[in-house]
């Protein structure tokens, strides 16, 4: 696997770029305390709305806070929210989908109709409703995102399981006397999880965007948390001072694009038709 990823990196420069961008953000978020020159919420009203300079690379905001430091720290929230959402939604959705697909029949019908109920709502509106009802906080926003995101994974997993369960090795396992659940856990899920993984990498970018959208609308963590979406929304009031919204916006853009590149690359790797090329 690692060898083929290295191979992929050599041949697919977009994938490499994606990896590089994401790695940068992850390292920046982990080592924010060492990289950021100022505290993310330290105010200095005497230097508010200063344009980018050597002291303040990305300028300062309405409260004289250093935007560079805020962007660096902000990665923590966006990455955390994105990863946790994808992880939880992926796990819940996959298990749900696998059970539905494997058992089939009435159980499948009921389970899938339930998940389609959630899918039939516009996802952003649904997430906003959940968030507004629970009150806005980082945890509630992630919860809302998970609720909205898991059915997509469930559908994908179910369709994969439907094909996988017809394979001979499944039948063989069953013939050897393995129980229903043992077959599901040891044979079907491990053989279906690949496509979910690819979807998860692509989805990471979407979830970060969605999280930023929600906090842009004031439904994320409370200020003065240095959250990218919220920083963009602060900057909207100062449209002639591009750096206030511009730099956090750029951060969201690169993070979303980066994880999409990785997802695309991985899909190419997994696709049997394209795999021969590597």
């Amino acid at each position: 696997m690692i060898r083929s990823i290295i191979k992929l990196m050599k041949s697919n420069y977009l994938f490499t770029l994606g990896c590089f961008i994401c790695l940068c953000w992850i390292l920046a978020a982990i080592f924010a305390d060492f990289i950021a020159p100022y505290g993310p919420i330290t105010q200095d009203l005497s230097i508010r709305l200063n344009s980018p300079s050597l002291e303040h690379l990305f300028g300062t905001d309405n409260f004289g806070r250093d935007i560079f430091s805020r962007v660096i720290y902000g990665g923590r929230y966006s990455l955390l929210a994105g990863c946790v959402t994808v992880l939880l939604a992926g796990t819940i959705g996959s298990i749900y989908g696998a059970i539905a697909g494997y058992l089939g029949g009435v159980v499948d019908d009921i389970m899938m109709r339930l998940s389609e109920m959630i899918l039939s709502f516009p996802s952003l509106i649904l997430a906003m409703c959940i968030n507004a009802a629970l009150g806005s906080s980082l945890f509630n926003t992630m919860f809302a995102l998970v609720i909205v995101a898991w059915p997509t994974y469930a559908r994908l997993m179910r369709s994969v399981v439907l094909t996988v369960k017809e394979n001979e090795y499944v039948e063989a396992a069953r013939a050897l006397g393995a129980s229903k659940w043992r077959v599901l856990i040891t044979e079907i899920i491990p053989n279906s999880v690949g496509s979910v993984l690819i979807m998860a990498t692509t989805d990471l970018g979407n979830q970060i965007l969605m999280f930023s959208t929600l906090s842009f609308l004031g439904l994320g963590s409370a200020p003065p948390t240095p959250e990218w979406g919220m920083m963009v929304s602060d900057g909207v009031n100062y449209f002639n001072k591009f750096w206030v919204a511009g730099f956090p916006g750029l951060a969201i853009l690169t993070m979303a694009v980066g994880s999409n590149f990785i997802g695309d690359g991985l899909r190419d790797l997994m696709d049997p038709k394209l795999r021969k090329e590597f």
Binding site: I41, Q43, L45, R48, L49, N62, F63, A132, A133, G135, S136, G218, A222, P223, P224, N237, Y238, F239, N240, K241
Partner: protein
């Protein structure tokens, strides 16, 4: 193919015709003297009986007149439709003689019956502004030009209240013809709102020509106006509150008066020759409220902690965020009202040493954690959340760890605030009518005091002073009493006044007489084109 070409040509022709029509519309009215105003919306009626928000008072002041009026930003009401007035010795009856020459736009004279009708209608509609007539017991009309207003108790603010937009005097004949009534059951039987949203029925300098909610209001000169007029024939009021749009409209000349600029958009207008700007402090005041009930407020219910917090706040920082022109009042009565204790000296108001001492005395030497519950509202364009962030930073200096909690105004915040269930919050207060008595709601046992669970018990002397103020009709004596009552709450109050918001207006330099007014936004009856 031929058919397609014909269709295409026809389409082009239609587009040109339509375009031609609209450009013709734009040129129309170039000979008239028209002034275009841009202001925020947030209201849905122009019927004075239902008028409660601040923006529509601009229209009410143009189309209607009141018995008393605030001229040139003064906080002393001057006679307008009233010629003279006298209070009875017990202060319970106010006799007003009306100006004889005053007439409505319809040509009908302004009579005492119109006054009675208008005030009773406002009271009986039981709408948002009906409270203004709470102290009016009954109204008598001994003759055509004399009105006697009997009060339920002494009310030193009654003249100011009568200057409020919802006490505008309506043409009772016209309004009655269109479904209006001043009967006790007016809240169910009055149907004049539709009529008054489409046109006006007052004696003001202008007449309402059209009103499209959230879009546009058009006012035209009242041809029958009884007084002296200005040289502006027509006002087009665009209901567009966005500061950036207003700024661009003003600099391109599409807008003549912009009422909702912000500190940052006004910088863009600096140096432009045809634009003048004004940064005025308003009487809208932002304040920090701490709950007196220990079960709700926790540590901030402690009087010493409250005082410590008031010493820890950097008022200068608050003013920076509120923008040029904002000031911090010393106590609950804003600068600009009589009886105000003046402006807070921001260079000495912050004293961290004293604040820490007080915290120590209260037993919170190591500080504490506290939730600051905030809504999404803004005060004259400044998000209250921004003020919360300043307060959070300031209080961290004295080891109080503030945790900002965001809550939606409609989804519970509003109710909890009004019911006194909020531990600590920052909110603003806009004056209902232009009189310092309006600020007495911040006293224990009164409307806003109760929102902090500040009950009358134990503060009976303050309540006595409160009643004295309501009864005192002599301005200088009332002013003295107002100062005294503020001294009484100096050391013990759950409110910290943060700042009076500033209002940033910009206007085309061809206009004269454009001045911000708390009561009318700008008084359009004072504006002339040079």
């Amino acid at each position: 193919m031929k058919k397609k070409v014909i269709v295409l040509l026809l389409t082009f022709a239609m587009v040109f015709i339509v375009a031609g029509c609209s450009s013709k519309d734009n040129n129309e009215g170039a000979s008239e003297s028209v002034v275009v105003i841009a202001m925020g919306s947030g209201f849905s009626t122009l019927d004075p009986g239902f008028m409660y928000e601040q923006n529509p008072t601009l229209v009410a002041n143009a189309c209607y007149e009141t018995l008393f009026k605030f001229i040139d930003g003064s906080d002393e009401p001057q006679t307008s439709l009233a010629e003279s007035y006298t209070f009875s010795d017990d202060g319970l009856a106010l006799t007003i003689v009306l100006k004889e020459e005053a007439t409505f736009a319809s040509g009908n004279p302004v009579t005492s019956e119109d006054v009675k009708f208008s005030l009773n209608r406002t009271k009986n509609l039981k709408g948002n502004p009906s409270f203004i007539a709470d102290t009016i017991k009954s109204i008598e009309c001994p003759d055509e030009s004399t009105v006697v207003i009997n009060l339920t108790g002494q009310d030193s603010a009654i003249l100011s209240k009568l200057g409020y937009a919802s006490c505008s005097i309506l043409d009772s004949k016209v309004v009655k013809e269109n479904g209006g009534t001043d009967a006790e059951d007016a809240n169910t039987t009055d149907t004049a709102q539709v009529y008054l949203d489409a046109t006006s029925a007052g004696s003001g300098m202008y007449v309402l020509k059209s009103y499209t909610p959230d879009e546009e209001i058009i006012l035209e000169k009242n041809e029958n106006y009884w007084g002296t007029t200005t040289n502006v024939d027509k006002y087009i009021i665009k209901l567009q509150g966005d500061a950036n749009t207003q700024m661009m409209g003003l600099s391109s000349g599409d807008i003549d008066i912009a009422l909702n600029l912000t500190d940052d958009t006004i910088i863009e207008l600096e140096g432009k020759e045809n634009v003048k700007v004004q940064n005025e402090s308003t009487k809208t005041v932002g304040f920090l409220m701490m709950n007196e009930d220990e079960k709700i407020g926790g540590p901030v219910a402690n009087n010493k902690v409250q005082k410590a917090i008031s010493y820890a706040i950097d008022y200068k920082g608050i003013q920076t965020i509120c923008g040029t022109g904002s000031i911090t009042p010393e106590s609950i009565i804003q600068v600009g009202f009589m009886g105000s204790k003046g402006e807070k000296d921001v260079s000495t108001a912050t004293d961290l040493v004293k604040a820490k001492e007080l915290l120590k005395e209260a037993g919170y030497e190591d500080g504490f954690d506290i939730d600051l519950e905030m809504s999404e509202l803004d005060m004259e364009g400044v998000p209250l959340l921004d003020l919360a962030q300043i307060v959070k930073e300031d209080l961290s200096e004295i080891n109080i760890n503030v945790n900002i909690v965001q809550r939606d105004w409609v989804a519970g915040y509003g109710d909890d605030y009004r019911d006194g269930k909020m531990g600590m919050t920052i909110i603003y207060w806009g004056i209902d009518y232009n009189d310092p008595n309006v600020q007495l709601v911040f006293l224990p046992g009164q409307q806003v005091g109760l929102r902090a669970n500040w009950k009358e018990k134990g503060y009976e002397d303050i309540t006595k002073k409160y009643n004295d103020i309501l009864a005192e009709t002599d301005s200088s004596k009332r002013s003295q009493l107002l100062v005294e009552v503020q001294d009484m709450i100096e050391e013990d109050s759950p409110f910290v006044m943060l700042a009076q918001a500033s209002c940033h207006i910009g206007y085309n330099s061809k206009l004269t007489g454009v001045n911000f007014s708390d009561t009318y936004r700008v008084d359009v009856t004072e504006i002339n084109i040079q």
